[in-house]
């Protein structure tokens, strides 16, 4: 029994062994990152160059995707050649040796700079680690302030430019409408990546940053206190619902789409859903949504988190030259235009925001541009995983009212110092 089992086993195996791995460049794309749009672009590439490509889908959520990628890359497997990397990952992946440095694939540094010139500065900055380039921008994203344009108009408000204004308007509108389900201000407070942005955006717009020029951690600072005092205030004044600590990105989006929110912080994907809904899901806010740059505190400047994805090369792959050609192709004007039009991915190239075909298909990009230019990368450190875990966990405890602002800041301060010290 056992012997026959193993004979069959090894025969099956040999067959599959021969069956796979004829494709030249294997590209890993999360199933939610629109492989249906990227696929045809790759086919176009194959038609032009004769280089075979194959898409590998998998991992619906960021966690699952990261989990899969880290298994493959920790195993130093050459099973994939290219993958899409989240914007927060370049420093970590560079340090771990999981992303191939790309400088050497350009003819010269000048050629590299010329290639990168048309891309948004924030995106290029996020891909550069110690002067070396590790990823090529695929598309970008940012957190926007979404607002109900109909309600703001009804009460005669302009989109707020300071957080205090936002609170005032939210209070006026929720009181005026008298709908108990209507929330004034919604953001992400669950222990998810987006909650880091919730914190950083308030910190930045208060004129602070997580780290000073000299490298010392500056979370437990006046700016930090201003930021958390503001979030305390959103809960105390009732413009934010008490259960904000369980709010994830998509719960926020759904609440807004159901017409239950006046102001919301969220990523770019929400826009298209607000206008058209999706299969089986109606939208109550079509044509009633505006986006604005995030408000700031008095004396601060608007700022937001940069998001989006980058093409990165697996250093353990065995068709690197071909893979680099794919990357260049995917970053080209036409490919990014196609991604913007068909997948609503926010372009990483400045010029696409003025392209008529793009604006016709996605008019919101015109409004997005002002916000995108304010976008800043989240902490650029090889230890981002720990930094992120620390901030989101503490913020989540803060939003759950399990620890106060002072403790939260002190814990983040000392935790960050420990992380950077190693």
């Amino acid at each position: 029994m056992t012997r026959r089992f193993f004979v069959t086993l090894s025969m099956t195996l040999c067959c599959t062994l021969l069956g796979v791995s004829f494709a030249q460049v294997r590209v890993f794309i999360g199933s939610t990152l629109r492989p249906d749009v990227i696929g045809p672009i790759l086919e176009q590439f194959t038609a032009e160059t004769g280089i075979e490509t194959e898409i590998e889908e998998g991992g619906a959520t960021t966690e699952v995707r990261d989990q899969y990628l880290s298994t493959i890359l920790t195993s130093r497997s050459g099973d994939i050649d290219l993958y899409l990397m989240d914007v927060v990952n370049p420093p970590q992946y560079a340090a771990a040796g999981w992303a191939e440095p790309l400088g050497g694939y350009f003819e010269s540094d000048a050629a590299r700079d010329e290639f990168l010139e048309p891309f948004l500065d924030s995106v290029v900055a996020a891909n550069t680690v110690d002067g070396q380039l590790y990823g090529i921008p695929a598309w970008t994203d940012a957190q926007f302030l979404y607002y109900r344009s109909d309600l703001l108009e009804k009460y005669g408000f302009e989109p707020p430019t300071t957080w205090a204004e936002l609170k005032e308007q939210a209070l006026a509108i929720t009181e005026g409408e008298g709908d108990p389900n209507l929330q004034g201000f919604n953001y992400q407070g669950a222990a998810i990546e987006g909650t880091n942005c919730t914190f950083l955006e308030a910190l930045w717009t208060a004129g602070g940053d997580w780290r000073a020029e000299d490298g010392s951690v500056t979370v437990d600072s006046d700016a930090g206190r201003t930021a958390l005092a503001w979030y305390d205030d959103t809960l105390a004044s009732g413009i934010t619902k008490p259960g904000i600590a369980e709010e994830t990105t998509d719960l926020s989006r759904q609440a807004f789409q159901a017409g239950d929110v006046v102001f919301m912080l969220n990523w770019g994907y929400a826009w298209a859903l607000f206008q058209e809904g999706q299969e089986g899901e109606d939208t109550q806010v079509a044509g009633k949504v505006g986006v604005a740059p995030l408000p700031a505190f008095d004396g601060g400047e608007s700022a937001t988190c940069v998001g989006g994805f980058q093409w990165a090369m697996n250093p353990f792959g065995d068709s690197k030259e071909e893979a680099f050609q794919v990357m260049q192709y995917m970053a080209s004007y036409d490919a990014q235009k196609e991604l913007a039009i068909s997948a609503s991915h926010i372009p990483a190239r400045d010029a696409l925001y003025e392209d008529e075909a793009v604006l016709a298909a996605a008019p919101q990009f015109g409004q997005f541009f002002d916000v995108i230019t304010n976008a800043r990368p989240r902490p650029l450190t090889p230890f981002y995983g720990e930094v992120s875990e620390l901030i989101r966990t503490n913020m989540n405890a803060f939003f759950a009212r399990a620890q106060d602002a002072e403790t939260t800041l002190a814990q983040m301060q000392s935790g960050l110092e420990d992380i950077l010290e190693q």
Binding site: T12, E56, I72, E281
Partner: protein, 287 residues
Amino acid sequence: MNRLFRYAALLLVVVNGLFPAVWLLLTSFKTSGELRQLPITYWPENFTFGNYVSVFTENPFGRFLLNSAVVSVVATLLCVLFAAFAGYALGRLNLPGRRVILTLIVTTSMFPALVLLVPLYRLFVGVEIPWLSEVFNSPIFTPNLLNTYWALIIPYVALSLPIATLILTSFFQLIPQDLESAALVDGCTRVSALFRIVAPVSAPGIVTAAIIVFVNSWNEFLLALTFNTTLQMRTVPVGITLYQGEYAFPWAIISSAIMLGVLPLVVLIIFFQRRIISGLTAGGVKG
């Protein structure tokens, strides 16, 4: 009074067990819009089968079901067979050091699957076998198992072996020694005693073990996600997550997919339990 109490208990069990499932079932007939209505609705306002259609049109869900079925059935058969052997040895034979052996087997289930993932992946991609390479003077690798059924069957057998062995060991222990001794006196060999006497009597244990192995294999997520990456080789639990969006979680479609994934399991289990148990009582086994 006794009767009333009995039915109350039945009702409580049914409600507790079924409520979330019924909620999912009702959800699967709702439109996504209805899920975000306040106040929430229980009975679907616009009854729709659209979600079930979407399950099959968006992804090859039939193929997912087939894959899960193949993997789980084979893994269950192998696992229960091996576990029955081991359980018989540990539960009925006078084996020196059997507690140590049992502990050793159970031990393997104590590491989180997460940390075993990377080494297992390396193993399944194909590692060089040094001594064989030396013998043949060229590098010899273990076969690449990724994207085959074996990549899941083999680890599933291993992952469920500890519990199956433990269950069967304890059930074999329960069978009165006289029963087997009588068979031995009648001229049965140990092996035929195992198949003719012990196996039928311990049917509830075997069925239980089989159900547990089957459900474990059917629902396993992490390994299935990592080892079988082509769409054609996905299993149901991983397949279900493919209906998710980057941020969005379309409960209406997903609950339909869950229902479709659970249905074969439930049918199978009911069928199995009925057949085996009725067969057992009909046989009139008395200790």
